[in-house]
Amino acid sequence: MSAGVVIIGGGQAGAEAASALRAQGYEKPILLIGDENQAPYQRPPLSKAYLMGTLDAERLPLRAESLYDKQHIELLLGQTVVDIAAPLQRIRLRSGSVLPYEHLILATGARNRLLQIKGSERALYLRTLPDADTIRERLASATSVAVIGGGFIGLEIAAAARKLGKQVCVIEAAPRLMARAVSPLLSDFFRDAHEKEGVEILLATGIEEIEDAAIRFTDGSRRAAEVVLAGIGVVPNVELARAAGLAVGNGIAVDEFLITSDPNIFAIGDCAEFPCVFANARAGGRVRLESVQNAVDQAKCVARGIEGTPEPYRDPPWFWTDQYNYRFQMAGLSNGHDETIVRGDAASGKFTAFYFKDKRFIAADSVNRFADHIAARKILGSGTKLTPEQAGDEAFDLKRV
């Protein structure tokens, strides 16, 4: 019998790849190996509803456990793959078992970047369900919380902690929030939103030390912080791929079919660096994205590549984050834009910023404007033209583009 597909990583991408292969009619064995003890579950609620206690743990799994049996997907949980012997098409587990594959899918995700400052062992991080449980427990008995890092996850944690009634301070080294992913307009909007909710936002601020129940800044001042949470970005899990001799850049390098430098090995999700038509060509056009959309759509693309008609990965990137009553959705990648057109009114908390580069529409950030977001995704996906004038004219129906 054929060795079938082995998937390394039981996260969103790995789980979706397994289901998508079955949905494509793939009949050979599928083995999904994950080093966490839980069956694949959703991470987004960990910094939102789950942290606030409004969603139970039993609702986090992506699939009912019985479904894996039903679809003949073998799950190996709590097992780490330590070696890939690419020429032999075999992998080895920490336990010593050696398993063959016909196709290998790397869905190893990413892990948190760790702080390198004095006292950093006091900081908590959020990536996994056990991480979230620890944070919930620590938050329960704390009154003051410091969040290091003003990116999406840091800000979501700040919003959740605030809703739980904590005194919250967000500390960001850059001069604005979410600087890597959003334009200054959105950074400012979310800074206002957090400040209105009573969160203290400290920008361009350096930390000297995490003390026992406080943060000491480079200027000598302090903030009380019984709990310190750090969300300063992630590093992709590429070590396994690198050791196997696969090409690695800012992630496991793949081509437009998501194939690595070995033709039998694919990489998807947070660990993969791929050529993206929506990315800034001047910056090389290759990106690594961290989103559910990217994990799911890349999984589907690989499933088609293995069982069906291979097609290049061309889905427009999109992402959402939820902070207080603001539903913020991004379509496309706005890096490198040279013109911003706003539809709606930021002051009302309902608006979309459309980004253009050389008059070409490249991305849209929507706050509580769902229809704009969906329209933007469709326009990006179909490659049709949207002019700055049309974007700015409320009377112009975006669905008509």
Binding site: P44, P45, R59, S66, A371, I374
Partner: protein, 107 residues
């Protein structure tokens, strides 16, 4: 557990016991019912969990919230009067036997 019947656009039907309090979307996704995509996992952010609710159950559904209202206008297959987002329908005893039909496409 309330039973929910999911009918694909091809006519294929599947009945699932959905744990009380879970959404109709969760009942489908967790059990591998094709035809509901649910990209956002129930955050009311994606409109890819669109279903047509059997007329007999319409009156028993919770009212359409503001967010759902806006998103229903952006579904891949055009909205009909009985369109709902399945992540916004809780499986509750009063809806036992619910029948939903899935559109041809979600994206």
């Amino acid at each position: 557990m309330p039973k929910v019947t999911y009918i694909a656009h091809t006519g294929e039907s599947q009945t699932i016991d959905v744990p009380a309090g879970y959404s109709v979307m969760e009942g489908a996704v967790r059990n591998g019912v094709d035809g509901i995509v649910a990209e956002c996992g129930g955050a009311c952010m994606c409109a890819t969990c669109h279903v047509f609710v059997d007329e007999a159950f319409l009156a028993k559904l919770p009212p359409i919230g503001e967010e759902q209202e806006e998103m229903l206008n952006a579904t891949a297959v055009a909205r009909r009067p009985n369109s709902r987002l399945s992540c916004q329908i809780p499986a509750i005893a009063a809806l036992d036997g619910l029948i939903v039909r899935m559109p041809e496409r979600q994206t």
